[in-house]
């Protein structure tokens, strides 16, 4: 199983997971308040510089962002249909900056740290009686753990298509990808239960 975490000693690696997560949340709020294109462009450039400092080779760094960036472009294009070009560009810049900073946080925080920190931050929510902080931490950790697995599955299905001389189409890729992902999710859930990880949460 691959990991999104990249070993290194950059400034972002040295920051505490809590500082990174709270900064990400604060940046999200600031980005959605601001609508000045020049300012948002500067934030995008800064976020790109911080992401670049993580230490990933350029091709890997871009490869990780590709699916999310394509989604952002689609959202911006939809925005362009219904809104002005200014609003569409603001949407593109906001989401791009957020994507770059979030990718940096993900690449510089180990999954174990993520789980511990999210669990600690969610602990006060337990007072409502609706949620278990441990479950929230575990859920976030599993999402991060699953992303590279799903990308790996996608590549394997693509290669299987190519090996069989089939044209790679989203319609033929999605069904096996969803089925295999759900099957893996079942296996992981069984492993979590077998290890008593949720059973022992009090």
């Amino acid at each position: 199983m691959q990991s999104l975490y990249v070993e290194g000693n950059s400034l972002m690696h040295r920051l505490s997971p809590r500082a990174k997560l709270l900064s990400l949340a604060a940046l999200g709020v600031v980005l959605f308040i601001a609508d000045n294109i020049a300012l948002l462009s500067i934030v995008v450039l800064l976020a790109a510089a911080v992401y670049r400092a993580v230490g990933l080779p350029l091709a890997d760094a871009l490869g990780r962002l590709r699916p999310i960036f394509l989604t952002i472009v689609v959202v911006a294009l939809f925005s362009l249909i219904f809104n002005s070009w200014h609003e569409a560009l603001v949407t593109l810049l906001r989401l791009t900056a957020l994507m770059l900073f979030a990718a940096t946080v993900t690449a510089t925080t180990a999954i174990a740290e993520f789980i511990d920190e999210v669990t600690a931050l969610a602990r006060p929510l337990e007072r409502t009686g609706w949620v278990q902080a441990d479950d929230i931490g575990l859920a976030v950790g599993l999402v991060l753990r699953f992303v590279p697995e799903i990308l790996g599955r996608y590549q394997a299905i693509r290669e299987a298509h190519t090996a069989r001389g089939l044209k790679v189409r989203p319609t033929t890729l999605l069904a096996p990808l969803i089925i295999l992902t759900l099957r893996d999710a079942d296996n992981i859930a069984a492993a979590i239960d077998a290890r008593g990880i949720r059973r022992h949460v009090s």
Partner: protein
């Protein structure tokens, strides 16, 4: 030193999924330290094992382990560790020592206790070199060792291994066989690798959701070959 033995009881326990019977109701007790489970694919072996851990609940009857009903959510599986067919699905965190520690954190151990337990279980299998390794970089045998460490760190007295030598090369298979042979815990081994269980005093053979034989290895394997070939 081997474990004190199994105390597993099936009391008319069976599993059905709608009209399909995965395991016919079964009454038996499991004792001793090593039990082998064999049978064709889809014969009910894994369902039988999952009942012991509480991963699958019986639709009829009940199963107890050391006197505790595996249907009880709070205590099910507390004494039973389970190693799955694909250990990579069992490893939740990418770094081996983090993954071993993960199950312990959830049990409320202190940081010092967790570190001691992680170091202890790795030392037990002479696997200290795996501590900082990433799971996706490990060989098949190393993955099995990592999965074993994650499970055994929590101190189960019974271990279920589902096809532990599946897809391993000769070297890794030998490594896993040696580890199983040296386990202190009682072990239930589901396998198609008949050599692995050849010396066991008790082997259960499942066929079409029924227990077809409960005998020493040689007898159960002979019966299996009659059925399968």
């Amino acid at each position: 030193m081997r474990g004190t033995g199994l105390d597993i009881r099936f009391e008319g326990a069976g599993v059905s999924f709608g009209a399909r019977t995965a395991l016919e109701p079964l009454t038996l007790g499991l004792g001793g330290n090593r039990i082998g489970i064999i049978g064709l694919n889809g014969s009910g072996k894994t369902t039988f094992a999952r009942l012991i851990n509480g991963l699958t609940k019986p639709t009829v009857g009940r199963v107890t382990v050391n006197g505790r009903d595996t249907g009880d959510e709070k205590t099910a599986g507390a004494d039973v560790g389970f190693i799955f067919q694909s250990p990579q699905n069992q490893i939740i965190l990418p770094i081996v020592k983090d993954d071993i520690a993960f199950g312990l954190k959830r049990r409320g151990f202190t940081k010092a206790e967790i570190e001691a337990k992680v170091d202890g279980v790795l030392a037990r299998f002479n696997a200290q070199a795996l501590a900082e390794r990433r799971a996706h970089e490990l060989s098949g045998g190393e993955l099995q060792v990592a999965a074993l460490c994650s499970v055994l760190a929590t101190g189960p007295s019974i271990l279920i291994l589902d096809e532990p030598t599946n897809q391993l090369d000769i070297r890794n298979r030998a490594l896993v066989e040696k580890i199983i042979d040296g386990l202190e815990e009682s072990a239930i081994i589901i396998t198609h690798d008949l050599e692995l269980i050849a010396g066991f005093e008790r082997v259960l053979l499942f066929h079409e959701g029924r227990l077809a034989a409960d005998a020493p290895a040689a007898e159960a394997i002979a019966r299996y070959k009659e059925i399968a070939v």
